[in-house]
């Protein structure tokens, strides 16, 4: 593979979606991230798994640029987008204007309409956010994230507030969107089944670091039901310290 190195660059171009090196983040005396390392490859979907309060969201906020590390280094693409746990739609703007919030240019509306069609919401662009169901609202926020063609998409427990059926539909949607949008993704969740359904790689956080990392190379049907899936599931549960309870 030949890499054209930019003349001003002193280091080889990274093909990574995001690089986190020895990052430290403290809140008072409490060290939440303790020299954490994580690399997300281009177009890779990494699921970050961990019990609540372990620092998953802290790491995500660092990657988003919403927070600064106390030590170490975070390198992310400038074009990145976040899907929050709550939809965070502007209630006073219609769906279309919510999606075009960060967009400029004459084709902004058309691009937003295209992405809304991708998430299955064509014809709903004139609706107010209050008129949408929880699943629809979260799909709008997914569209808002994807419309800028980001190189890194950060998803902070995006489906946690949805019901089980809607959540499964959203998983299908994410898989379909990945084939069209070539972005690296980091999905934070505490749902082991969600991790298995979506991930290229599952990393488990413990003690402020990435504890274990599991590559998931399963076909779509195997992710639903297979021996490999069950093995992965028990491995993940063991990593989370829940092995005895299942």
């Amino acid at each position: 593979m030949s890499i054209t190195v930019a003349p001003h660059s002193t280091r080889p171009l990274r093909q990574a979606g995001a690089v986190v090196e020895k990052v430290v983040r403290r809140f008072g005396d409490r060290v939440v991230l303790d020299h954490l390392d994580l690399t997300i490859a281009d177009e890779e979907l990494v699921v970050l798994l961990g019990p609540s309060g372990c620092g998953k969201s802290t790491l995500l906020r660092l990657l988003a640029g919403l927070d600064r590390p106390d030590g170490g280094r975070v390198e992310v693409p400038a074009k990145r987008a976040i899907v929050f746990q709550a939809d965070r739609l502007l209630p006073w703007q219609r769906v279309l204007r919510n999606v075009t919030l960060g967009l400029h240019g004459p084709d902004a509306d058309q691009r937003a309409l295209d992405v809304l069609a991708e998430v299955g919401l064509s014809g709903r662009e004139k609706a107010w956010p209050k008129e949408l169901s929880g699943g629809e609202a979260q799909r709008v926020s997914l569209a808002r994230a994807l419309v800028s063609e980001p190189e890194l998409v950060l998803l902070d427990e995006p489906f946690a507030a949805l019901d089980a059926i809607t959540r499964l539909r959203m998983h299908d949607l994410v898989r379909a969107l990945r084939s069209r949008h070539h972005a690296a993704m980091l999905l934070v969740t505490h749902d082991v089944d969600e991790a298995i359904a979506l991930a290229d790689r599952v990393v488990v956080m413990s003690d402020g670091r990435i504890g274990t990392s599991h590559l998931v190379e399963l076909s779509a049907p195997d992710r639903e039901a297979s021996i490999a899936r069950e093995e992965l599931r028990s491995a993940l549960l063991e990593d989370l310290g829940l092995a005895n309870q299942h």
């Binding site: 919403l66 074009k79 987008a81 006073w92």
Partner: protein
């Protein structure tokens, strides 16, 4: 003891309402409810009058009492005679110019007060330095009663138009600043954070998030501003005026023309009603996104 009272309640409700078991509620389509005579009457009464039911009832009672001679003419003349004296005053060429000069004062005062209130409110709300510049002063001014400023204004600016206009702008500007400032600062922090992550610039943040988010508070401020400006108008015109509605009222008081006093009061209240309807209209148009409580 408890059992007895429970029993009685159950029997009572069963007899009065549907034959449902105690502790149960039955929901049926609205059409299925029987159209009783009472309900039909209530629907009919509600339709033409709406919120004006009570004022109209009071007016009719007032008219009847005045005609029956219970209320003396100098105490409270009948509504019809108030209308008559309004027409008389208009035909004498008194009411028209007085109303015009009052509206002019209110208009100029409101324009100055709202402009200053909105500009300082937006700057104070958006910028930390703006807050430091304006907030302390306005919060102090906010605690000073409008009417207490009047003597000072007369000393400073005389008894001319300037005092009246400034009093009205003071009344309009301060509540506008206070409400607008609070509204901008009250916009959900999570939405602001989200907006920044979409790559939207400061202009987008202001126009699509902060301004529309602060609109409900702005309209509350506008309501107070309009109400206080009418208050300021009354106060300014009652003291040292030779034209305007307040003058009309003072004159009526001096010559015991109670009808004339009432004409002034009615016009003030109409101005207040008009202002309220205006803000309601703005709310309907600007806050369409917000489904609000519809009383039954």
């Amino acid at each position: 003891m408890t059992e007895v009272s429970l029993d009685r309640r159950a029997v009572g409700s069963a007899a009065a309402e549907t034959p449902s078991a105690p502790g149960r509620e039955v929901f049926l389509p609205r059409d299925a409810r029987r159209q009783t005579l009472l309900r039909a009457l209530r629907e009919r009464l509600r339709w033409p009058l709406g919120i004006y039911t009570t004022p109209v009832v009071i007016l009719i009672a007032w008219e009847v009492l005045a005609r029956a001679g219970v209320l003396k003419k100098t105490y409270a003349p009948a509504p019809t005679s108030i209308v008559k004296s309004a027409i008389d005053l208009w035909q004498q060429g008194v009411l028209g110019p007085d109303l015009a000069i009052s509206l002019q004062r209110a208009g100029i005062g409101l324009a100055i007060g709202l402009t200053v209130g909105i500009v300082t409110g937006v700057v104070g709300g958006l910028l930390r330095s703006g807050e430091y510049l304006f907030n302390g002063v306005v919060q102090i001014l906010n605690t000073i009663p409008l009417l207490a400023v009047l003597p000072l204004m007369i000393v400073w600016f005389g008894i001319d138009e300037l005092t009246k206009v400034l009093l009205i702008s003071f009344g309009a500007g301060v509540p506008m600043y206070v409400n607008l400032f609070a509204a901008i600062r009250g916009v959900d922090q999570r939405l602001i954070e989200m907006t920044r992550t979409t790559g939207a610039g400061t202009w987008r943040l202001v126009t699509r998030v902060l301004v529309p988010g602060a609109l409900p508070g702005f309209l509350v401020g506008l309501r107070f501003s309009l109400a206080y400006s009418v208050l300021g108008l009354v106060a300014a015109e009652t003291v040292n005026a030779d034209k305007g509605l307040g003058f009309l009222i003072t004159q009526g008081q001096t010559y015991l023309q109670t009808g004339q006093v009432f004409v002034g009061l009615v016009i003030y209240s109409l101005l207040g009603l008009l202002a309220d309807q205006f803000v309601r209209f703005l709310e309907r148009v600007l806050l369409r996104w917000r489904p609000s409580y519809e009383a039954a």
